[in-house]
Assembly symmetry: C2
Homo-oligomer: 427 residues x 2
């Protein structure tokens, strides 16, 4: 259905899990929708670590947003970078000087990794939020092995074969487990001067356990599973320095040429655009109905928003939470268009918490049931294939996983964008 | 079998079709082999245009070289960029200051695109030789449609929706046909402000027919097939200018924001390294046995070599020719190690010439039989799947093609590496 040109205009900034869900929830409503994102694709972030560790190809976890919404004549998809919001004129400002007038605005712009005031660490310890981040990390991991193969100095070789992951949340645990498998299994026997099994994978966590969002028993299980894979886990040791030589944590300096940051995120600059209150991580403080204080026509959701729960905690920055918030916003907009302006508070339903450790173990916490081990791993895999978009991607990802599970071989071991001439030409 | 450390050392520069075939042909011979390439992957170049046009993912047509050779204990794979050859000391010089001593050297470093003295055109008209080239072209094509969707000026919109391919050889024809299908079929209905079917795809060829390496009847067939797909073909019109606004050919100026170069190649700088004679395209002039004049221990093969055939032509720069030359060099080295120093001339066997036009038509010239049309297309597809490496890639590429054939949908429509912030961070 093509809506009238003067229909209520909903502008959604960000085509992540939250933004897409708002568009889906508004199907059939008497509105025009414009969804704007600075990327042309929706990204399935929960599997991004598998691109970074050569398991999946970029196109297996990303889809053109306009293709996902192609049958929705009421939705216009735009590629554009938002740089501000003119609240008085009700316009979203774009980097190229353009603007989008809105009646209702939904800000769902996600988060980037944050370095707790140490942005100078970023060149040495890249984080993982975009496809480019993933191919950058993939390149660094693979290049480290290639350089080690040609390095004759034992100390430098040791640093090249040391991989440090900072942060023991799900991303850190998943990266560490997969890099260990890559080194100890996938690459084994392919080098002539080094034994890739001698590679050290070190997971550094400031807190006293990994996966702190799970129950302690599951953290203990994950710790044992990581150690079984050969990962060295350092707990209770905040990192105090990252540089070209390695990392410093506690009173130790660990020489390492590959460092990956999985320790912290900061929201996109949405709070600055909206000139509204934010928490320390930059998340917009929203009202219980997800609107911005004093702006009932502006919603903030997903990783961009700080949403308190009744028990004094806040809603975690995970895909299911963003989707639930997207649905809530769509329902609110539809109710308002019908004349019902009641402010309904958002309630978060915890659908469960999942994390994998390598290709044999996982932990799952559904609240009413907690699982670990191989069964959990299979459930994790099925759940993620189910949530992928489109039959085609489900088939190819299932094939990729089956291949790794049976042969240990990974399909996307490519070093790209690392050639200076190409880089220079691109500038 | 692990050869003795003092065994005859064969250094192969380049892990393309030619270089890999030398390594394969030397299996079981009493030699040590080192294969060095500045990329970590072997690339299946005949399908590179499908990555550039969103059909295939990068990892479907590229494999880590060391993985391909993992079971060959006699082969060491190195990632490194060759910058010269010290013929007197018999050493290959690497960019990082390292060097590799050789007993026999095989140079198989391929070609890059060339602009016939107009290198200033490169930023406006990228060519297609590497994975990065392919993702660059893919980004430009997709971005042109995205920008057109947001452009209100009809003239600028028209230029954004005009795609010019320069060069009517197999790569140009394959690119033009696929871009036409992308615009007229795959993307149709996904934009709200433009009709992608209005996109113009213009193929400009200086000669009087496309696919000049085929017989004239097949060129005519390809021309008709291209026009049926909506491609405008301009023959007999050399391009005299490429810039940010478009191209000039004959006495016409065509405003176009996306230009792709498929008109010429130049060999890698191998002739300079070897300080030996080269033809106008930079190819090393080799003896009939593929050795470099006066250097019986140095071979040049594939796109790097100018190899004359008895009828006064020269061997074309195609994958089967490189492979045949690789086998010939391996046989020569093995014969020499047995004490037979006879210089055997290389003879090129033309296994056939293939090109596709979109997803319904192809031309095939096996010499004894010439085919066009849908049967040729199916044969082309089967042949290419057969030549891909590994069951896994055959499965996924076959799946990708089946998907396009039945649904028109392409899986790799990603704009990546186009974000300035990411680019800036990477520097």
């Amino acid at each position: 259905m093509q809506p009238a040109q003067d229909a209520h205009h909903v502008v959604i900034v960000g085509a992540g899990f939250g933004g897409l869900e708002v568009a889906r929830g508004l199907a059939g409503a008497p509105v025009r929708i414009t969804i704007v994102d600075r990327r042309n694709h929706h990204l399935f972030q929960p599997l991004l670590y598998q691109v970074a560790t050569t398991t999946l190809a970029t196109s297996e976890i990303a889809w053109p947003t306009r293709h996902l919404l192609r049958n929705r004549r009421d939705v216009t998809t735009l590629l554009g970078k938002v740089v501000g919001v003119d609240r008085a004129a009700k316009r979203v400002l774009l980097e190229d000087g353009g603007a989008l007038a809105y009646d209702t605005l939904v800000v769902a712009t996600g988060a980037r990794h944050a370095y707790f005031g140490h942005d100078e660490w970023e060149p040495y310890a890249p984080g993982l939020k975009t496809l480019e981040d993933a191919t950058t990390i993939r390149r660094r991991i693979l290049l480290a092995f290639e350089k080690a193969e040609r390095e004759s100095d034992p100390e430098r070789r040791r640093a090249l074969l040391t991989f440090v992951i900072i942060g023991g949340g799900p991303t850190g645990v998943e990266l560490a487990g997969t890099i260990a498998e890559l080194a100890h299994d996938t690459l084994r026997g392919e080098f002539r001067n080094i034994d890739t099994r001698e590679a050290r994978v070190v997971l550094v966590e400031a807190g006293d356990r990994v996966l702190s969002s799970f129950v302690p028993e599951q953290s203990d299980y994950a710790l044992r599973a990581l150690r079984r894979l050969g990962v060295e886990v350092e707990l209770g040791t905040p990192v105090s320095e990252c540089n070209a030589d390695g990392v410093v944590f506690g009173d130790r300096h660990l020489p390492a040429k590959t460092i990956i940051w999985a320790a912290g995120v900061a929201a996109s600059p949405a709070a600055e655009w909206l000139e509204t209150a934010a928490d320390r991580a930059g998340r917009v403080m929203v009202e219980p109905d997800l609107t911005v204080a004093g702006e009932p026509e502006i919603f903030a959701i997903g990783d961009t928003a700080h949403v308190a729960t009744p028990d004094g905690k806040f809603v975690p920055g995970v895909a299911p939470a963003a989707k639930q918030q997207g649905r809530h916003v769509a329902a609110t907009i539809k109710a308002r268009l019908k004349g019902d302006a009641t402010a309904r508070p958002f309630r978060y339903r915890n659908d469960g918490n999942l994390a994998t450790i390598g290709k044999r173990a996982a932990v799952i916490d559904f609240g009413w049931i907690k699982l670990t081990g191989r069964l959990a791993w299979w459930l994790w895999g099925l759940a993620h294939i189910y949530f992928l978009i489109g039959l085609r991607n489900r088939l190819t990802v299932a094939l990729s996983w089956l291949w790794i599970y049976t042969t240990g071989q990974r399909s996307a071991r490519l070093i790209t964008q690392g050639d200076e001439r190409t880089e220079a030409r691109r500038r």
